[in-house]
């Protein structure tokens, strides 16, 4: 049985290899693994980032991570139905503000990285799929592993992440309740204003203390 599986595995690899080579930026799971490993390797070596150097970590994320994210899609999912009633300008402003917020927040989270290890789970996808879930698990000693899954969608410029699911919760759609509340009280412009204010507060280092 094991031999059969091994043969199948070899066969599958052989069949898949040319298909992967033809992709503009490879298979989605390979993309996630390569980017994660590369970024963590840098963080592990960089004392400044470990010490919480925001500017440096933003630069790293900007260069290595952001090209693989589709922020317009993320913002749309976070805003929900009201996205349709927003004008193209408002949609752009929302995307910009939300992007700034997410990038800053989760870049800072990288500075918290210590000695966790990341397991990449086997990908389940059909060749024709344009949307996949890449599953990973963050392990740390003395605690239960936390699942972090990346939702990727294939567009004209390759695979892009449009959601990150932590312990079963979509970080993007989890904003929906808050955003809907903001839009109810102040309209789409009200939400844009709130996001921009939050970003300004973070910029000046006053928020979250």
């Amino acid at each position: 049985m094991r031999k059969l599986l091994a043969c199948l595995a070899v066969l599958m690899t052989a069949l898949l290899a040319p298909a992967q080579a033809a992709e503009p930026n490879g298979a989605p799971d390979v993309l996630v693994r390569d980017v994660t490993n590369e970024v963590l390797a840098i963080v592990r070596q960089d004392k400044a980032i470990q010490g919480g150097d925001t500017r440096k970590v933003l630069q790293l994320v900007d260069e290595k991570v952001l090209p693989h994210f589709n922020f317009r899609r993320m913002t749309m999912l976070a805003v929900g139905r009201d996205w349709r009633s927003a004008s193209p300008d408002q949609q752009q402003a929302l995307t910009d503000a939300f992007r700034t917020l997410l990038v800053r927040t989760y870049s800072n989270a990288l500075t918290q990285y210590r000695d966790q290890t990341i397991d990449f789970k086997p990908l389940r996808m059909a060749p024709a799929d344009t949307s996949v879930q890449v599953r990973t698990e963050v392990r740390q000693p003395g605690a239960q592993a936390i699942g972090i899954d990346y939702m990727l969608e294939k567009g004209n410029d390759g695979w892009k992440v449009f959601d990150v699911i932590v312990a079963g919760v979509s970080l993007v759609t989890n904003y929906r309740g808050t955003f809907a509340q903001e839009i109810r009280t102040g309209g789409v412009d009200g939400l844009i204003r709130s996001l921009q204010e939050k970003n300004r507060a973070l910029e000046s280092g006053k928020a979250g203390a």
Binding site: M76, W83, A143, M151, E153, Y175, G177, T178, A180, Q181
Partner: protein, 289 residues
């Protein structure tokens, strides 16, 4: 007494019903259906935050600085081992004997070969740590979650999970220790250990949200639903850019399609894609109506 309110609500409902037979978007009603106790909850949330800021967090930070990492891991492992007994019992109650057996093995292996749970050898042997509690067991039995409620000190729960918590505490080996000083010290250490683990994440939540209360509430509810389903994905993704509402479900749902279909049993599956209202209704627990 409430005639005026009731009749205004009725006329509002009627107006909406005229617009659409599936009047799901009661945009004028501020209350979140998951959170009818929002006023009380927000007050209790800010009380807990103050307690945390004044006492728990500083203590946890001190603990984090003073204790060397191996010791912290050992302490975490011991509490984790103690917790596995009740986790196994819950797996049994949920009709998952294999998981329960694995939990039992974890306790045996870690207690005897891991020096009373200091080492988590079982994980390395392939017995994965589970996450169960009586609230999840009740959920598996079909008990509805009830309203979201923020408990003093314990934080976010639902009514169901509060009931579960009561039993979790009752069944907990540490709370069963009859020697009061030992019991209190162990409980205190466990609380601090748990809090110290959250030191890294809280900054992210503080910085990344417009309304911390609402974000934590939504996160908690989503996560509990996910846990009761034992990790089966429940996310679905709409495309609000699509011109045609009927096509909105098409792109971007492939990966989540199976779970999405399960969730759509709320509305007739045959209607999927036929009405925008059906689409809007499907992810309703994330949409505050």
């Amino acid at each position: 007494m409430r005639n005026a309110a009731a009749s205004s609500a009725r006329s509002k409902a009627l107006a909406l019903a005229c617009v659409s037979l599936l009047a799901v978007g009661c945009a004028s009603r501020p209350a979140n259906p998951d959170d009818p106790l929002e006023g009380y909850n927000r007050a209790m949330f800010s009380f807990n935050e103050q307690v945390d800021r004044a006492v728990l967090k500083p203590v946890a930070q001190g603990y984090d600085t003073v204790t060397p990492t191996p010791l912290r891991i050992a302490i975490g492992n011991v509490f984790s081992n103690i917790g596995d007994v009740w986790i196994g019992a819950n797996n049994l109650l949920q009709g998952k004997p294999q998981d329960a057996l694995s939990d039992g093995m974890r306790v045996l292996v870690n207690t005897f070969f891991g020096f009373a749970g200091i080492l988590d050898i079982a994980s390395e042997m392939g017995f994965t740590k589970h996450d169960e509690d009586f609230g999840q067991t009740l959920g598996t039995w079909g008990v509805g979650e009830g309203a979201y409620v923020v408990l003093p000190f314990f934080g976010p729960r639902t009514v169901r999970d509060s009931a579960g918590l009561a039993l979790d505490l009752y069944a907990d080996p540490v709370t069963g220790i009859s020697d009061v000083p030992v019991r209190n010290s162990l409980t205190g250490l466990r609380v601090i250990d748990t809090r110290a683990r959250l030191l890294g994440t809280e900054r992210t939540v503080d910085e990344g949200t417009l309304d911390k209360y609402a974000y934590i509430r939504d996160f908690y509810l989503q996560q509990r639903r996910y846990k009761v389903n034992d990790g089966n994905p429940t996310n679905m993704y709409e495309d609000f850019d699509a011109e045609d509402d009927a096509a909105a479900l098409g792109r971007g749902t492939d990966a989540a399609a199976h779970s999405a279909v399960e969730r759509l049993e709320l509305v007739a599956v045959g209607n999927v894609g036929a009405t925008p209202a059906a689409l809007a209704a499907a992810p309703r627990n994330r949409d505050t109506e």
